[in-house]
């Protein structure tokens, strides 16, 4: 591999590592009651956000569900502003009004995290509709879990997107559990959830969601097709969340075993990429130590920024309900 490849892989690894360490720190801050409410961590699924978003243009749209920190960070949002939002601070991305599940960063075309399962999928179709209507060659990428696939709103959006050949990529992050319910108890076609999209004539592919390079390679082709006006695509990225559904539950227990979690941890997306880098580039352990230091500093600075930031003024309570407020 060339130096360019090395720098490229290093950059992918760094972005995944940032999400990982950011999420671990979030959990820590939750335990310290700096963060409250719901907190859904993306640990284990980093390769999907980073691999998929890497191929996008800055003006493409990205929209996500409630497990959205990873997508927001992968899109380039300032970790300090993201952490400040989790802290409910005035300096947060949404000035503390959104919280963990509703991150929005319009400057980076991150159009939001939404917390009604399936409810943001029609919005993604709408972003794509707007691009097509205005003859812009923009692609919308919409992330959701496999738990959203059987929802009515997902199906309505799939139908509209297929019917009108909208430039949208639906990325199903199949982490095998909708909260505590395994996919085989929730989705009739659990062996191939992408069949839901195919039934509307949408091209669908499955990819190893633990392999950032596989995700990126597939996305390159898919985004090119979608941008060229060939209609929507659906990607089922096979993954696994290493933590509980939210901070309210442990990583294993009632609905899955410790052994199962350990088994999947062997395919940790960070390990998968690290192995490639060690085997196929001149990267050494020292490089990874260096990355850890860099990312550690970024996350520490994010926490410091969030912690030192002020809470919103009470007067902001009634601001931004309506345009013109």
């Amino acid at each position: 591999m060339t130096d360019m490849d090395k720098a490229d892989l290093r950059s992918l690894y760094r972005r995944m590592l940032l999400i990982r360490r950011f999420e671990e720190k979030s959990a820590e801050m939750y335990a310290l009651a700096k963060i409250a409410g719901f907190l859904h961590l993306y640990i284990g699924e980093e390769a999907i956000a980073v691999g998929a978003i890497d191929v996008l243009r800055p003006d493409d749209y990205v929209i996500s569900a409630y497990r959205d920190h990873g997508h927001c960070l992968a899109r380039g949002s300032d970790p300090g502003k993201v952490m400040a939002e989790l802290f409910g601070k005035a300096t947060g991305l949404c000035q503390g009004k959104g919280g963990s599940m509703h991150l929005v960063d319009v400057q980076n075309r991150f159009m939001g995290g939404y917390a009604i399962v399936g409810g943001h999928i029609p919005l993604a179709a709408g972003l794509a509709f707007a691009a097509k209507y205005q003859k812009q060659d923009l692609v919308t990428v919409c992330f959701f879990g496999e738990g959203a696939v059987p929802s009515g709103q997902a199906h309505e959006a799939f139908n509209l997107a297929a019917l009108w050949k909208l430039p949208v990529v639906f990325i199903c992050e199949n982490n095998r559990y909708g909260m505590g319910t395994p996919v085989h108890r929730a989705v009739a076609l659990y062996e191939d959830v992408a069949e839901a999209a195919r039934s509307y004539g949408i091209t669908a592919e499955r990819v190893d969601g633990m392999d950032v390079l596989a995700v990126r390679t597939l996305m390159r082709t898919v985004v090119e097709q979608v941008r060229a006006g060939q209609g929507p695509c659906f990607i089922e990225a096979m993954t696994y969340r290493f933590m509980g559904h939210s901070m309210a539950d442990p990583s294993h227990g009632h609905y899955r075993t410790k052994d199962e979690v350990e088994e999947y941890r062997k395919r940790d997306p960070l390990l998968v990429l690290k192995e490639t880098m060690l085997n196929q580039t001149s990267c050494s352990e020292a490089d990874f130590k260096q990355l850890e230091r860099e990312v550690g500093d970024v996350v520490a600075a994010a926490v410091k920024f969030a912690d030192e930031s002020p809470f919103p003024e009470p007067a902001s309570l009634h601001a931004d309900i309506m345009v013109g407020d």
Binding site: Y61, K97, V104, M111, P122, A125, G126
Partner: protein, 325 residues
């Protein structure tokens, strides 16, 4: 110019769509069918299917799509074949349209009109006859408009389309054919401004949409019996123009509120509370509400009639309040 309510709506949208290419119309049968109630007659011929978008029968999906398109800078007009179907899209309206601006800390806006007929027509049965304005008014982040006359319908719809917020615009099937003088040329009526439809000194009636016509007829009848009734149409239900109602009550000392919707938690309860708070000292008696009965609207004609306020009931309520019964 004498126009029907239907023609006034048609003109309003036509003028706005000619003015601004970002505006598009979307809904069931809005295009080639010319609108289920022919409000969009001639639109697909003038503006083409890109801007007059026929949809499948999936209200959640296409309402969500419109919200997404609005987030990306378009100005959609969603036609719901009836407001009852808004219930199917309620997740999109309440969880997305109404909240996206606030949750994003003011980064996003949703310039969107959702319009269609509410309230009962003739014997449409329980699922097609509901007056749901109180539901929409309850949600922060929405404006709610319910014009009664062709002139108001045109001016208010143009303002609703130009507004930068989500506006629920409630029409009535039984109003579509009613005729009235409509201002010539370009005009708009600001949202949030009530109109004194009839001046009087003895008692104030507040009524909107179809019930305005009932109230005006009752006022006419009462005038022959020596009662001088002032009739106020709020026109916009949220934000409510309380000042105009207060000014009237300050003069008359008596208030009757007429609404077709259900009594319990109806809009009149809110108007009454607002008036008690703002003008209690001016009241010579309790505020009287004339409302729909708390029942699903029945099919059978005499039962349906019994469920909905009529002229006789309004006359009786005013008389009892004025001690003239």
């Amino acid at each position: 110019m004498l126009l029907s309510y239907r023609e006034a709506l048609n003109q309003a949208m036509r003028e706005e769509m000619r003015r601004d290419a970002r505006i598009f119309l979307i809904g069931e049968e809005v295009g080639y069918y010319q609108g289920a109630f022919k409000v969009t007659k001639g639109f697909v011929e003038e503006f083409g299917p890109q801007r007059v978008v026929d949809t499948p029968i999936t209200e959640a999906g296409f309402t969500g799509l419109a919200i997404g398109a609005a987030m990306a800078g378009l100005h959609p007009i969603v036609e719901l074949m009836t407001m009852n179907f808004g219930i199917v899209a309620l997740d999109q309206i309440v969880n997305n349209a109404a909240k996206i601006r606030y949750m994003s800390g003011g980064q996003l806006s949703v310039p969107l009109v959702i319009r269609g007929p509410g309230s009962a027509a003739h014997q449409l049965g329980a699922q097609h006859s509901q007056s749901l304005e109180a539901w929409f008014c309850h949600v922060p982040g929405l404006k709610v408009v319910a014009p009664a006359t062709p002139h108001d319908a045109k001016g208010l719809l143009k303002s609703a389309i130009r507004d930068h917020n989500p506006v629920i615009f409630i029409e009535a099937q039984l109003l579509y054919g009613t005729k009235g003088e409509v201002g010539d040329g370009e005009y708009t009526i600001p949202l949030g401004q009530a109109d004194v439809k009839r001046e009087g000194a003895d008692v104030t009636i507040v009524a909107y949409s179809k019930m305005l016509l009932v109230a005006l007829e009752a006022a006419e009848q009462l005038s022959r019996e020596g009662l001088d009734v002032e009739v106020i149409d709020p026109r916009t239900l949220k934000p409510l123009d309380l000042d105009t109602i207060v000014a009237s009550v300050t003069k008359t000392g008596r208030l009757v509120i007429v609404e077709e919707g259900w009594r319990f938690c109806g809009l009149g309860a809110q108007i009454a509370e607002s008036i008690y708070s703002a003008a209690f000292d001016y009241l010579d008696g309790p505020i009287v509400r004339v409302t729909g009965e708390d029942v699903p609207i029945p099919y059978s004609r005499p039962l349906e009639d019994a469920a909905i306020p009529d002229v006789a009931r309004v006359v009786a309520a005013v008389k009892s309040l004025c001690g003239a019964a």
